[in-house]
Every structure is written in structure tokens, then in C-alpha cells.
Symmetry: none
Subunit: 146 residues, 2 copies
DNA sequence: CCACTTTTCCCCACTTTCACCCACCAGGAC
DNA sequence: GTCCTGGTGGGTGAAAGTGGGGAAAAGTGG
């Protein structure tokens, strides 16, 4: 399980160190490869296994539903496999860096089965938005049975 | 499987380098030929094998259904076979270049069994449109069981 | 049918990017 | 203090991408 918030820096070559804690999760799965994909405000990283499970589900949806097409074109298409280098980093290609607005400081956010990669400033803003919303959020959770 | 986003440039002669990662997929199939055809906003490239499978399916549809006719006229008829040159490029004929509005910068988008060829600006616009819609998209995905 | 232009293909050369390796620095444990 | 670990930065050779010259092929017009 990926948990917690970590701030790392993206170096000039576009490399990002994966926190040791996250690497251990991968090591336990016996497969250190990651799939990184673009979401609307950030990037999302999945262990291969999790990603494949997701892809299979998408493959079963109607391929002619325009929403599904858009989802595939944006979210699925950007998903590419990366291996860690000897220092436990991945190289994030410029197209994904641009999409997610990654600059210097990067926030990694554990989301249990996967983790998100945010531009730090954007993360701080979004966190603030969620905080404002929290009261409302709580009632939705209650409705969902939590 | 073709995955990920790659930006390459179309040179003055209309040649486009196929990313090495995509070429490997073709090499694994043992057939480096590609069929490129026009879709509504971009071009689509298929490995021969995939294209033939598609054609066979279309052949089974009613030849007198006007919609099928249009589909064949536009999508199927424009499909032409291209081989890679020694540098791993294909020459995109001017008719297809115009249709897809390809200028300098070109975006290649991996769509698993095939890949799309977009004019970069047009791609950015379309991506932005999808991104705006992402919240809505996500809820549709949730409804569909994702 | 022939001359001419345009397009296509093949080759070579240059530039940029990437994968790999090593080195450094900061902080915590001993 | 030293040792270790985690994160950061940089050099280097190979690979990928880019651009252009020139011969062959195809298309065009008289």
C-alpha cells in the first residue's frame, strides 16, 4: 500500500526519485516497473499489475461510447511503462511533465493501490480546495455508507 | 501494444519518424508495414495484421447501408500501406497531411492496438477539451463500473 | 513519344536525447 | 566521530530523431 505525502525534486533531466517507502511496495510485488499516466490535474503511477487490471476493465466497455473514447484517448493512451534506474528514479517524459505542470518541486501522494505525482504548488492549491469542501465531503461519505 | 505520447516533427519532405518504442512493437509482429488512414480529427496507423482484421469485419457489413458506404469511402478507402525507410520513418502523402492538418509538430498517441497521428496544436486543443470534461468523464466511468 | 517537372526513395551526416554509471551531500543510527 | 541510507547532480557513449543531397521513378504537358 502506498501511503503518505513526500516532496521530492524533479532534476534538470526530468528524473524523479521514487521514495524508498514506495519502492519497497514495488519490491514486495516482485516487479519494479511502473506505469505512469496523465490524469486531469496530476500524473498517476501504478504498479504494472494494477494497471493491467484497469486496462482489462476498460477494454470491456463499449468502444464506441464517446466518453469511453475520450477516456481512452486521454487517460489510457498516456500510460507508459517505466523502469527505475539504479538510484530508484524514473525519467518522466516532457509531454507528461507539461501536462501535469511539473516544475521543480514535486509532491508524491500515496493512494493505497497507486500514487499521484503533483506539481507542489498545484497540490497545495488543490489541497486547500478540498479542505474548504471537507464538510460537504463528509456528508457524501456518510451517504456512501462510511 | 502501442502506448504513450510522443512528439516528433514532420520534416519538409513530409516524413515522420516512428518512435523506436512503436517500431519495436512492429518488429515483434515480424512485419514492419503500416496502414495509415484518415479519421475525423487525426490519422490512424495500424499494423497490417490489425488493419486486415478490421477490413474483414467491415466486409461483412451490408454493402448498401449508406452509413457503411460512407465509412468505407472515407475511412477504409484512404487506408494505404507504407513501409519504413532505413531511419524508421514513413512518408505521409500530402493528401493525408492536409486532411489531418499536419504542420510542423506532430503528436503520436498510442492506442494499444494502433496509434494516432495528430497535429500537435490540434491535439493540445482536444486534450484540453477532454481535460475540462474530466470530472464528468470520471463519473461516467464510475457508472460504467470503473 | 519525348522532354520536363515533381515526387519518392535511399544514403550519409549532424544534433539531441536517453540509459547507464559514478560521485556527492545531508541526516539518522551506532 | 564513522557508517549507512536516501536523495540529488553530472559525465559519457549509444541510440533516436532530424535534415539534406542525389538518383530513380512517376506524373505532366507538349
Amino acid at each position: 500500500m502506498f501511503t503518505g505525502w513526500v516532496t521530492n525534486t524533479l532534476d534538470a533531466k526530468g528524473r524523479l526519485a521514487i521514495p524508498a517507502r514506495f519502492r519497497e511496495v514495488l519490491a514486495q510485488k516482485g516487479d519494479e516497473r511502473l506505469v505512469v499516466t496523465a490524469s486531469d490535474k496530476c500524473l498517476v503511477a501504478y504498479p504494472i499489475e494494477e494497471w493491467n487490471a484497469l486496462i482489462e476493465k476498460v477494454a470491456k466497455l463499449s468502444q464506441f461510447n464517446p466518453k469511453v473514447q475520450d477516456f481512452r484517448r486521454y487517460f489510457v493512451s498516456s500510460g507508459t511503462e517505466y523502469s527505475l534506474d539504479r538510484q530508484g528514479r524514473i525519467l518522466i517524459p516532457s509531454s507528461l511533465r507539461e501536462t501535469a505542470g511539473l516544475t521543480g518541486q514535486v509532491q508524491l501522494v500515496g493512494m493505497q493501490s497507486n500514487f499521484e505525482i503533483w506539481d507542489k504548488d498545484r497540490w497545495l492549491q488543490d489541497r486547500e480546495r478540498i479542505r474548504q469542501d471537507f464538510g460537504d465531503l463528509s456528508s457524501v461519505m456518510a451517504e456512501l455508507g462510511l
